[in-house]
């Protein structure tokens, strides 16, 4: 699976409360959640994000609440990949479970700037900053996790496997 898009860049400890504030958790509609994604740290995100774009962030991305609404909001806003130095535990698992591609790659995070166009081959873990021409290699997920993500999440994957 290959993805490509422009980069939104954030710092360390981006918590799930800023990814999707709890005041919007009175719905589980993906579309409504996407309309408020990142609102409390980046008001312009929702207006600027386009299908395929990539979030790049520091350590402990997705810390805090277990709300699956956080990766759901990011995915539904069109983001194709989140690259971080590290992810908080529950967010990491939730992302796989709902089919949001994520990668841990500290070197890429250090070098990639806001607005750069980045492409990534999720199968090999190769991240390329097309704006600067630099390439980085992240540890790719094993094939079965890649398959879960590609199928759109754990439940969709299981339904497909059962057939």
């Amino acid at each position: 699976m290959k993805v490509k898009g422009k980069v939104f860049k954030y710092g360390n400890d981006v918590d799930t409360d800023v990814i999707i504030p709890a005041r919007y958790l009175n719905t589980s509609s993906e579309k409504e959640l996407a309309e408020h994604c990142m609102e409390d740290i980046d008001e312009s995100f929702v207006n600027e994000v386009e299908a395929g774009d990539i979030i790049v962030a520091g350590d402990n991305f997705g810390c805090g609440s277990s709300r699956e609404h956080a990766p759901i909001a990011i995915k539904a806003s069109g983001v194709s990949l989140v690259i971080a130095k590290s992810f908080a535990r529950i967010f990491y698992r939730n992302s796989i479970n709902i089919g949001l591609p994520i990668l841990e790659c500290p070197e890429a995070v250090g070098a990639i700037e806001k607005g750069d166009v980045v492409s990534c081959d999720l199968g090999s873990g190769t991240v390329t900053d097309e704006t600067t021409g630099k390439s980085f290699t992240a540890e790719p997920f094993p094939p079965f996790i890649q398959q879960i993500i590609e199928d759109g999440g754990l439940i969709a994957h299981l339904a497909k496997v059962k057939k």
Partner: protein, 419 residues
């Protein structure tokens, strides 16, 4: 190679003699939990999967606590989804308004969790039950859904950090000061993916509510779970509540820990985490004027917490310009506080007392902050915008500090008010 307490519980539930950090295991669950926010997402997945029934109608728990009693039409619809699902699947432990309390205070109170149990919940503060010697951890809605369908979950066996608690805490020092101090020490990802295991002779000075508070905030250091050894305090609490078999696990003497910290409880001072991360723990505060105080939540809404607040507020008045909101975590706690005369003291002091709800802690309702307002709160997170406007500020503190601050109108140490 020895195992930690957490690893032993996981091994037992996976039917294995031994597990090692990093190993992937499939384990049987004793309890699976969701609330009115995470439940509807799990139910949607459950239906998408074409599942017909839950693995065990005694072992699935749904608690309507976050936006209940409902704050608006949308949250009422979310509760309605859970209510219909519970009725349809004959889920016995469905807690609606009147029966509900804040989930992590409610489940132990109802005897649904015991020592040695393995619990997952679609709420990050599910780690609270480590206070009872259980392995419990927060998951997302999809994992909860899978657990609800199969009664099983896969885990990566966590490595661990050990916190040896030594000595006796001074007056006005409680579980909240201890955990804020620890998070200040190791940071909000200091225990990422790992267990936080508590040990040491200082444990005997901590009542069950202190332990709930400490394990509750293990997630605030990124941990997978927090856990206390089982002792007389645990057994006394479980007596008459938990009807299952108490399974007491202890870490092996040669268990491996990534890091061992010694915490001298006698040296701790009232500790407050400044905006906007729980790791910003400070004991010197300067002059911080405040607008609101919240005492409650799964972190500090227990009876001991209300007693601490009442000790300070008795015969005193909330400062002009400060709104004090006190929320007993469950109806049983509420009734106990009523019997002890605490509620009268709160209202007499000028505070408002609410029915159990998570409400203000996550900026849902019942105490939302306006731009620039400051709140001293006994809750667990002080992230940007957590309780309201993005420019509002949250200072995480113990019930003693919160109550003392309510009296003076600025961040205040309890000793100052009591002297």
């Amino acid at each position: 190679m020895g195992m930690t307490m957490s690893q032993k519980i996981l091994a037992a539930h996976a039917g294995l003699k031994e597990v090692k950090a990093g190993q992937l295991i499939n384990a049987k669950l004793d309890l699976v939990l969701a609330n009115d926010i995470t439940g509807p997402v799990a139910i949607k997945e459950f239906e998408k999967a074409g599942a017909k029934k839950v693995f065990d109608k005694n072992k699935v728990v749904l608690v309507m606590d976050h936006f209940a009693p409902n704050k608006d039409i949308k949250s009422a619809e979310q509760c309605k989804i859970c209510r219909s699902f519970a009725a349809d699947k004959e889920i016995l432990n469905f807690f609606d308004v009147g029966k509900m309390g804040i989930e992590h205070a409610l489940l132990p109170e109802k005897g649904l969790v015991g020592a040695g149990d393995l619990v997952i919940g679609a709420d990050s503060h599910t780690c609270t039950y480590g206070a009872l010697g259980a392995f419990s951890t927060g998951v997302g809605s999809t994992d909860m859904c899978a657990g609800m369908m199969s009664g099983e979950a896969w885990f990566k066996v966590p490595a661990a950090m050990k916190f040896v608690l030594k000595g006796k805490p001074a007056k006005y020092i409680c579980g909240k000061d201890i955990i804020l101090h620890i998070i200040g020490l190791i940071g909000v990802d200091g225990a990422l993916y790992r267990s936080m295991e508590f040990a040491g002779d200082g444990i005997k000075y901590l009542n069950i509510d202190d332990r709930f508070t400490i394990c509750n905030m293990a997630i605030e250091a990124g941990a997978k779970n927090g856990i206390f050894p089982v002792d007389g305090v645990t057994r006394e609490y479980l007596q008459g509540r938990y009807t299952g078999e108490i399974k007491e696990y202890a870490a092996d003497p040669d268990a491996v820990y990534d890091k061992v910290y010694e915490i001298d409880l006698s040296a701790l001072k009232p500790t407050v985490s400044f905006p906007h991360l729980p790791e910003n723990a400070k004991t010197e505060w300067g002059n911080i004027k405040i607008d609101q105080v919240v005492i409650g939540s799964c972190t500090n809404g227990h009876i001991s917490d209300l007693r601490m607040a009442a000790e300070i507020l008795k015969g005193r008045k909330i400062a002009n310009g400060v709104r004090a909101i006190i929320i007993p975590a469950t109806n049983e706690i509420y009734l106990q506080a009523l019997k002890e005369g605490l509620i009268e003291q709160f209202i007499g002091a000028g505070a408002v007392v609410s029915t159990p709800t998570c409400g203000p802690c996550l900026g849902g309702y019942m105490g939302i902050l306006a731009a620039g307002e400051r709140c001293v709160s006994t809750t667990n997170r002080n992230f940007v915008g957590r309780m309201g406007h993005v420019t509002s500020e949250i200072y995480l503190a113990s019930p003693y500090v919160a109550a003392a601050s309510a009296v003076t109108g600025r961040l205040t140490s309890p000793a100052e008010v009591m002297e």
